[in-house]
Symmetry: C2
């Protein structure tokens, strides 16, 4: 059993909610906070990826309000989700950390970076979009709806379809991914229900709304940032990642071939290597 | 003095032309062929970059027909330029190698890969575009014309302006780059004149012409490919790199921040590290 699949779930009571999280990996001064995707819980991080990261970094995986065993209700805006993360970090007495925000988690990471320029040392944004981005999580469009409306797909099988590209190789990687998600036997989080999905979809709709000059906010995020996507991401298309690096002043872009929304899980060895090299660089600039 | 600035220029007589080239670096089974940009000669490769690559790879830098001391006339199509490279490789008895094609050189590399699927083991395309790409080398547009028409800019000063982003940091990197280009004192190639520029611009215009289904050719290039660009490339905008990875079946994309056409020279340490890791990977897939 890996460190990721045996790490105990912890509960942290704060002034706002009690948050479920796990912390594991190599002790280091600057922890790496992982912010999760649409409907995902602590159990939705690929242990192959987090095991590789944990060899060099102190990882904190986190359930936002209303997810898993975290109390409260799921907010309908990214802004409120960001506030929960900030309260959690404060209660943990973490003034600054690195962050890996995947999908919805990447939007939350951007919002926190805008709220508090000192919250993060370095930022990794995977399969995500800037505020005002395009075609964010429209689960009813044909390329996704055919899976979400397919009653024959059970449990994680839908993840295999929507997180991976249609090719045989990518679907095989998807099959391995969902098997890895099942490796944790005990101390699992309750899965998210339709109420979670509904609230988070409302947050995506709100995030799609442009406010003021397109992408101007991004210019305030000056941290070294690594932006990653799969070239065939149907959930949050790669064009959103292009817009991120075109507007963030200090961001590298990595696009993976033959991969969808879950590029970080499909290419977990490469992704972990690139991410660790990026975080380990002592440059104030993003290239590593 | 570095290995790049002291390597002797060699002349290879072939059935077609006599080609000027230099070969240096660590002996290895698979050489790395470098194909140069618009008007560039052997002397336009940044020695900081080639020195770093030469520590691990056997490099061959090459002047196409009519460039530097290579005989013949500069062709007006990428296709004819590709033929010269193929004749040169054949005369050197190289059946297969890796290739780094920068700008015009990246187009030539694509054409060779289409002509002969066995010519290359791995492909690196920097600051380049697929056939049918957009806004390729329109030197008269305002963002470039203001430099090309500025009579106060002498020699390499124009390169500093058009290969680098306008920021102070990028312009500083550009200044260091052009100083490095001057490090070679002896055995320099004659610089390209307006006739070279004119023929190569004709080749860019021909390359912009779409033939058949957009980008369909790219799907035949199955080699692991690394595509690199600066996010502010005004000469061949990064959107062309997006189209490359969206259509090449096995390609990674790396986009550098605060960088223009010469991203590989501005970020030479990072670029050399990424390129060497990509070439050293024994996977048949692009991610490394």
């Amino acid at each position: 059993m890996s460190i990721s699949t045996t790490a105990k779930t912890l509960l942290l009571a704060t002034s706002k909610e009690t948050y479920a999280y796990r912390r594991f990996g190599k002790a280091s001064q600057c922890p790496l906070l992982l912010l999760q995707h649409f409907t995902g819980t602590l159990d939705n991080w690929d242990p192959a990826m987090t095991d590789a990261l944990a060899k060099e970094r102190d990882l904190i995986v986190f359930d936002n309000a209303g997810i898993g065993r975290s109390t409260g209700v799921v907010p309908k805006t990214v802004h409120e989700m960001a506030e929960h993360v900030q309260v959690f970090l404060e209660a943990l007495e973490i003034q600054s950390c690195d962050v890996l925000g995947f999908s919805l988690g990447g939007m939350i990471a951007q919002q926190i970076a805008l709220n508090n320029p000192n919250a993060f040392r370095k930022i990794v944004l995977v399969g995500t979009a800037p505020r005002g981005g395009t075609d964010i999580m429209h689960l009813d469009k044909p390329s996704l709806g055919r899976y979400f409306q397919d009653r024959s797909l059970k449990g994680y099988q839908i993840l295999q379809k929507v997180f991976f590209a249609p090719s045989e190789a990518s679907q095989r990687a998807g099959g391995e991914f969902i098997r890895r998600l099942d490796e944790r036997k005990d101390d699992r989080e309750p899965a998210s229900g339709p109420d979670v999905a509904q609230a988070q979809l409302a947050a995506f709709r709100e995030w799609e709304v442009q406010k003021g000059e397109p992408f101007a906010d991004l210019r305030q995020i000056r941290q070294p940032t690594l932006v990653v996507n799969g070239v065939q991401d149907e959930m949050i298309p790669a064009s959103n990642s292009y817009r991120l690096v075109e507007n963030l002043p200090n961001a590298m872009l990595l696009i993976y071939p033959d991969a969808g929304h879950g590029s970080l899980f499909q290419w977990h060895e490469s992704f972990a290597r690139q991410l660790l090299a990026f975080l380990a660089s002592d440059s104030s600039q993003a290239p590593y």
